[in-house]
Symmetry: C2
Subunit: 325 residues, 2 copies
């Protein structure tokens, strides 16, 4: 009886199967089952093996195994931007409380579904919208509003949890299991992404770096007010600066996506590490299962070519895109 | 024989003694041996017991056990400021390389030991000195310079390691052992304090929050340049703002010192936590073993009285101040 039991335990260890069927991710099973076998997956696994081999020349101590991931288009879909949905949600709440706002920009453009206002206004109009909807209240009030939004948010007909990329969840788990300290480095505002980072990605609030507005502390109330002044825009060259400020060193693993040229500098910064390092760029080339979009001059893909970064073809490298319901 | 061995093991467990004599800090021994028995020590121990009691009403989950400590005057002595010694060290290095600088302010004032320049210039002159000596180079070069300085720095005739407060090292250990996540929140520049946070306090770089200058990323070199523009001055109301930005929540344990009114807001912010919280203020009242200095209007001590914070009398609450050599 005892022998049979040991054999069974051994069988489950080797196959990674659990009693309930499981997801096939046991300690000896494939840690990246949603990744197609191919050069990208092989390179990831080879890098992790290299830097965790304590006897090898490429070993990186656990404290220095810093990984940074962009969020929009890298960990979850960015069409539409969840941050924009949140801003719209906020506008509706604000207008319901103060109907006069419906005649004032940028609220007016949202109420009237005037997309031209934002197309013409570009980044400036977007920052105006975010400032109008994300500031002018205490931090505690804002966090409650974020929680309310996420509790009911639907993106492309799915709950938010279904818009994350299953292969990336596996990659986060794989890196975590191998001692990596994982940060999100997002162009989104930090307090919005902190509202979902732990339940969606297992990443705690203090490991989220993002765009932020100025805070002003009130001695009389002991509260932080969110001020309508942009403090840091965490995109492009803002990313290495914020990573240095928060973490105090270069990431050895950095992952971003093409589409908005936002992650080139983060990956370049990572490549300057004195340790072996790994740069991963998601290419949105899957119009059937996700989206197909490219930058006008393919800047990110050119940078990847020049820097010998690893490029994920969503179409070819990912066997599945979204988690099962 | 076996019984004797067990008895010996039990004896060592209870007394906390180890074979080599040890420091008396075993698991059952007094975790704060340099703290005099009295209300302050008792309050610290009672708080830690309360928030770690998983069955109690005051329990705080490990992830939320955030502690923030000021550095100058709280973890080590602030007379003189180590940051100023570093600036002087930098001036000497810079003037040796470019002697013409000796005729230009603020270098001139340092070379000529013109203390009046800084007394008259106040905070503005100090920021000017820090900008002149801490920027205009890459981050990598600066970190090398910090390491060089600390490898030979002498403060009040002692190596830097001897200027830290022994009771605070014990407090850090005690909190860490009880699952607290400890951050430094310093008025000093972040990259200087990161140069010693791990070896001196066991606090890694990513857990240091401080004053910082702007970084500018260069695409061509992949390097961050340190720019002479102050980005954030981490003192007074700057502390709650930076804590929110970095950690995303209030600390439940906050410790600062009177002397420069720099920590009042951090302690107020902590007190707004929805969890039980603890505020600790060091009073520099020990002219014999350290220094005696008070604010003009005793602002910090008044805030402590009003907020029912715990005040450490260095003279009465600390049996020893500095570590043994």
């Amino acid at each position: 009886m005892k022998k049979i039991f040991i054999k069974l335990v051994f069988f489950f260890m080797v196959t990674g199967c659990t009693q309930g069927g499981g997801d096939g991710r046991g300690s000896l099973a494939d840690p990246l089952p949603s990744w197609a076998d191919g050069p990208t997956k092989q390179a990831i696994v080879a890098f992790v093996k290299q830097v965790t081999d304590s006897g090898g020349a490429g070993f990186i101590p656990v404290a220095e195994r810093i990984a940074t991931f962009d969020n929009d288009g890298t960990l979850w879909a960015e069409k539409p931007l969840v941050q924009e949905l949140f801003a719209i949600y906020r506008v509706k709440k604000m207008v319901a409380r103060d109907p006069g706002l419906a005649k004032v920009q940028p609220y007016k453009a949202i109420v009237e579904n005037d997309k031209d206002y934002f197309v013409k206004g570009g980044e400036k109009a977007l920052v105006q919208l975010v400032a109008a909807t994300h500031t002018g209240m205490t931090e505690d009030e804002f966090e409650k509003s974020v929680a309310d939004f996420f509790s009911q948010a639907i993106v492309n007909g799915r709950p938010v949890r279904q818009t994350v990329y299953q292969p990336q969840l596996e990659l986060l788990d794989y890196l975590r299991t191998n001692g990596f300290n994982i940060y999100i480095c997002t162009g989104g505002t930090v307090d919005v992404v902190r509202g979902i980072s732990l339940p969606l990605y297992g990443i705690p609030k203090e490991r989220v770096i993002g765009t932020n507005f100025k805070y002003q502390f009130s001695d009389s109330t002991g509260q932080l007010m969110r001020m309508p002044e942009l403090d840091h825009f965490n995109d492009k060259s803002g990313k290495p600066a914020a990573i240095q400020l928060h973490i105090g060193r270069r990431p050895v693993f950095a992952c971003g996506n093409e589409g908005g040229e936002g992650d080139i500098e983060m990956l370049q910064f990572s490549q300057g590490s004195s340790y072996p390092s790994f740069q991963l760029l998601i290419n949105h080339d899957d119009s059937a299962r996700e989206f197909y979009y490219q930058e006008k001059g393919n800047e990110s893909l050119h940078a990847a070519l020049e820097g010998h970064w690893h490029v994920v073809s969503m179409r070819n490298d990912w066997k599945t895109v979204y988690p099962e319901k």
